[in-house]
Symmetry: C4
Subunit: 210 residues, 4 copies
């Protein structure tokens, strides 16, 4: 007999659909904060170059959030590739994760506008933290409720946990650096994201980032 | 012989595609109303914290609408998981449902701007009501026209009806509370959404929310 | 041997994906033109009701464009359900169609702002015309190049042509009515869209709209 | 044994999903820069026609970016149709490509606002260049790592390389023309895009564009 919202492969497919949608929109929205210079303030090629150069912090935060979205898109995908089916609670956890992905354009914009403020860096870090926590919660839920795919052994399960936690430790270190200087903090986090996004094969780095 | 827009599994797939798209966009758009404080008005960390704290009502309505979208995404999915095929009319009913999903960012914004006004609460409730009515209409249509999947028995069919109606009664009670205070009304609806989203297993609660 | 962009079922799937995406975004964007009243101008429940009532033309054009999008989503779907594969040119024609779907939020906004101007009505009608022409062109191309699915007979092929042309005639009549009054024009087109969206079974109406 | 993010067909499907999403949003966002004339400045049909005519440069850049998106959507699709599976790095390269697709609405807006400035033309060209480079890098990566589908021979592989390079040469010529006049530059690039989008069968043209 069929009942509404039983754990199913279709439910899993819907989660994938809405996830890719939210990521695609977030990827495009973070660009909207890079605003074209007002026409009235520009009268020569030189002034236009100056105006575009002045957008540098926005391109920086765009790159940062682009990398962040990339990393979490893979994080979500790595998990879902190992999950065979999804029930309502697992989907809810995934939606909470998406709720914080949807908040990223706001955090990015705040950071771009207040790059020299610790509060803005901490708000951005808080967003990263919540993304990690929701990802951790959904992996734990899938693990405890037997939703993992066949052939996922204990070591792989542990690797997924470890990766999330290692990344959070690195970001927490980055956030703590804002006690010295907010820009240093952003720089550190940017380097971390670059390493994750590039997924290097160097054994030492692989050990650190899991 | 093939004719345009006959009831088909492909038609059902297209409805799923556009539905997940509209939900993904609505989830992301409701964040856009949380606007970063103007740079000119902020000169210290303390002022930035104050400015972010002042955004609290917007985070509240964001959470509210995020939960609402979550609940209706599941509502739509619960139905569609029980429907085997879709014809043009069923798809039209689904699009009407999506039309009111698309209106939710507007209702949310209105509520955030006028949280102390009964009219804003009632407009938000009206949006919830129309979402329920279009969902009810499409379930009724699928039920009467034999589009339900095999193995969907009379009890399951009744459960789907009951869930929609029970939620509407709770929201109507919430809306009526705005006679006492609009904020009480919003608080009540928020608690209802939280319970639905968390999908608790407590038998008493399960009986109330179906 | 595999060559890039040969006519294939996958190409057809990609067209469906981007089509549903553009429609989902257009459906949500047309709402963004309904702007929440400014907080400064509203001091009482009565003033808020007045301010919301003043948005009526925007709700009208929202409803109109929502119906238009519905109708063309079905139009595109009716065609694609009868097309077995897609090559680059057919996909290009479909993208041109999507280009005019993407313009609809602009035409809608123009109409809402200048409801009493003939020029705005004609611009809206021009958008409808281009949507019909691109749909017609892609059907003709699929028909002439043997991309139609098996089991699509000559009568069905003709029905698809006729439906597009009949709708265009009705909209042209509607547009011509703006010589008398732009609002009459909009009202007429709105009624036409309502009839199409409802897809009534009355034999006389069915004959007119194909 | 299952490991996270192994090269797989599902990974490939996710890349397609997010790609179509980003393209759909970019297609719709480039329209948002065509802004409806302010109501206060328009008092007659004639003034409305004048105001719409004044939007001509925006319609021009819309058409240009629409064609650019079309061409790169096909470019990405031509590649992915020949790629059997995707690992994390290939997906990252694809996301970088999408990062520059997401920047296109910005470049388009800059161009529309500063059509007479060389800097704006060069910024637009730089965007085209980065799109080509990321596409080239992902094709090279798939080629070197054995991710190409069976039946993709050396000639086809070479054709894909050549097409990307030929298009870049044509755009570089177009960009260089801005030394004479920025508008000539835009005109040249527009004609190149039109030829690519139309995919003509004329043997001479086919030889030039690959």
């Amino acid at each position: 007999m069929k009942r509404p919202l039983e754990p199913s492969a279709e439910g899993r497919g819907r989660v994938v659909g809405i996830t890719d949608g939210v990521f695609a929109i977030a990827l495009t929205l973070i660009v909207l904060e890079i605003r074209v210079p007002a026409h009235e303030t520009v009268h020569s090629e030189r002034e236009l170059i100056t105006a575009i150069t002045a957008l540098a912090p926005r391109f920086l935060t765009y790159a940062l959030s682009f990398l962040t979205l990339t990393i979490f898109w893979f994080g979500q995908q790595a998990q879902h590739g190992l999950i065979a089916k999804s029930d309502r609670r697992l989907a809810t956890l995934n939606l909470c994760f998406l709720g914080f992905i949807a908040l990223l354009p706001f955090s990015t914009d705040l950071l771009a506008d207040f790059l020299e403020f610790r509060t803005a860096v901490l708000a951005y870090w808080f967003n990263l933290l919540m993304l990690g926590l929701t990802l951790l919660a959904s992996w734990r839920y899938a693990d405890k409720n037997g939703f993992l795919a066949e052939g996922v052994d204990a070591e792989t399960t542990r690797t997924v946990y470890l990766r999330i936690i290692k990344a959070q430790i690195l970001w927490a270190v980055g956030a703590a650096l804002c006690l010295i200087s907010p820009l240093l903090s952003v720089g550190f986090i940017l380097v971390v994201q670059l390493i994750y996004a590039a997924a290097p094969r160097a054994p030492l780095l692989r050990k650190v980032i899991g």
